[in-house]
Amino acid sequence: MAGLEKKKTAFDDENLSGRSQKLFFDITEEENFTYYGNHDVDFNKRIEIDCENLNGNQLNQKIRDAIRNGYGTVAIKNPGAKHALGVGILNKLNLIFEGSLGYFGVGCIDGPTVRINGRVGWSCAENMMSGKVVVENNAGSCFGAALRGGDLIVKGNAGARTGIDMKGGTILIGGNAGAYTGFMMQRGRIIVCGDVSANMGDSMYDGIIFVGGDPKSLGTDCVEGEMNEHEVRWLEQKFKNAEIQPKVPASKFKKYVAGRMLWNYDNLEPAEKKGILG
């Protein structure tokens, strides 16, 4: 990694305050990319694992064994909606699930590209650091909870509290999203092509929610922002990459951000606090 220059990102013009990722994350620091158990893999080397008689622990161990042996593409047959599959993968990898996952699927991952040809249960990709996850069907609640980086995509609908507590990365939802989407989000971006249920962006601290349809209601301290040309282009690129065609063009999407009234909550008079909380 030495020798790489810092590149300006698409959102360098974003006004960040406080202790943000930018202040303590330096891409030239090699140790940020070196993990125990990180292996070189060949993406042309493929292995299939049948999950029918395996539990989550056993499957995850087999995936790690495959990585250790240089396999860059791992296909999982018969995942059967079992819980905690594909968790803790800290390596570049093409991981394909030929079916649905249960709770906590592909949580705490850093690096793999995952395709799930089915549905995912609650808390898919929780705490994901980097990589890409594509869900072909629907997603349960808490989709991308505490997401820190990477792209998390669902072609269908996502449940309540999507992106709760997220700290970075992008969540893209092809359909609708449930109540409290973006609840307490601190950074990152959520894109919902359809409608969003009640209390969207409640108590959000920072970050952006883009909505193609309509939010049923906005939560505390979530306000509508102004889209700029830069963001429209970014949305178009995201849709293209994810092979999602929203019903309305990117330019018609609405943008929601934190009103930042909660930032100074402790300094406010009681009457002002009441005003914020509605």
Binding site: K82, R119, Y180, A198
Partner: protein, 315 residues
């Protein structure tokens, strides 16, 4: 945590619903190891009713209930038999799988069973689990397979059913706190619930003043009584379920079944899970997809209902 599940075979198709429910509930055993309950609907009997009741508790290791003298149980059963006879209820068939739980088929002069039900429950520790023309409600301690084996449920032929695996939180590990709950005194209505109701005691006092009885301190029981009360006031099932979303406070998802319908409701916070599969011949719903997958080995398309959503399926 608790796990709930339900299945309905469309066009009133009769299948081995006992095995379907057992497989689904065993798939979510990890959500509640304390007790398991089934409410299943067989082919409705042409004449009379099916009564399921218990006169004591299971005294297994995890239960706080104390073993009772078998003679006391015999005496309670005799009292119930006499009460039924005195009320003009004629028992045509009876069986039991345990010393404390019984299944009767009986004929009765009226379709209104409230008076008879209250008389039966006047016997010490007697609790009616269900009365109906097709409904049979069975619940006991242990996982789905244990209860199914104990009561011979894996050959139960029927159209639909609901079930529950319970992790005891706010009340004891015993049969009376296990789900499903029958909507006393309505024939063929049962409820299973996952969650907590925070305005339970307030609502319970209101319903008790209206004459409803509660057999346990389990908050879930109130949903069955609430639905029964709404139906008594001429409100249909789906409307009653919609009303419950505003009138019952807390976090909950529940499934309700009637003689030919299956319904589910999810609270405004969507805090408790539910996954649904809607096929051409069958609808199945459960707290986790892994339960549904136990009866569909092939890939299926499922979805989560959104918050404040009510769904009712006709059999």
């Amino acid at each position: 945590m608790c796990g709930i599940a339900g299945v309905i075979n469309r066009a009133s198709k009769t299948v081995n619903v006992g095995e379907q429910m057992k497989l689904m509930l065993q798939g979510i055993k990890h959500r509640g190891p304390d007790s398991t309950g089934y409410a299943m609907y067989g082919k409705p009997i042409k004449e009379g009713f099916i009564l399921r009741f218990k006169i004591s508790e299971n005294t297994a290791e995890q239960s706080k209930a104390k073993a009772e003298d078998p003679e006391i149980l015999k005496d309670r059963k005799k009292q119930i038999d006499k009460i039924m006879k005195d009320h003009g209820a004629k028992v045509t068939k009876q069986s039991s799988s345990t010393p404390y739980a019984f299944r009767y088929e009986f004929t009765y002069k009226s379709e209104n069973l409230e008076e008879l039900a209250k008389a039966i429950e006047s016997v010490e520790k007697a609790e009616i689990l269900s009365i109906g023309k097709g409904l049979e409600l069975i619940k006991d301690l242990g996982d789905a397979t244990t209860v199914s084996d104990q009561y011979g449920l894996s050959k139960f032929m029927g159209t639909h059913g609901i079930g529950h695996t319970r992790m005891a939180t706010e009340s004891d590990v015993d049969i009376k706190s296990a789900h499903p709950y029958w909507a006393f005194p309505y024939q063929d209505v049962a409820v299973v619930h996952n969650g907590q109701l925070t305005n339970y005691w307030g609502n319970r006092r209101i319903l008790e003043r209206s004459g409803y009885r509660f057999n346990s301190n389990c908050d879930s029981e109130i949903i069955a009584v609430y639905i029964a009360d709404k139906m008594a006031n001429g409100i249909d099932l789906e409307k009653a379920m919609h009303d419950s979303l505003d009138e019952l406070d807390g976090v909950f998802t529940y499934i309700v079944s009637t003689k030919d319908k299956l319904g589910m409701a999810k609270d405004h916070m969507a805090a408790k899970p539910m996954v649904i599969y809607e096929g051409d011949d069958i609808v199945a719903c459960a707290s986790e997809e892994v339960a549904i997958r136990n009866i569909f080995p092939h890939e299926i398309t499922t979805y989560d209902p959104f918050e404040a959503e009510v769904k009712v399926w006709q059999g």
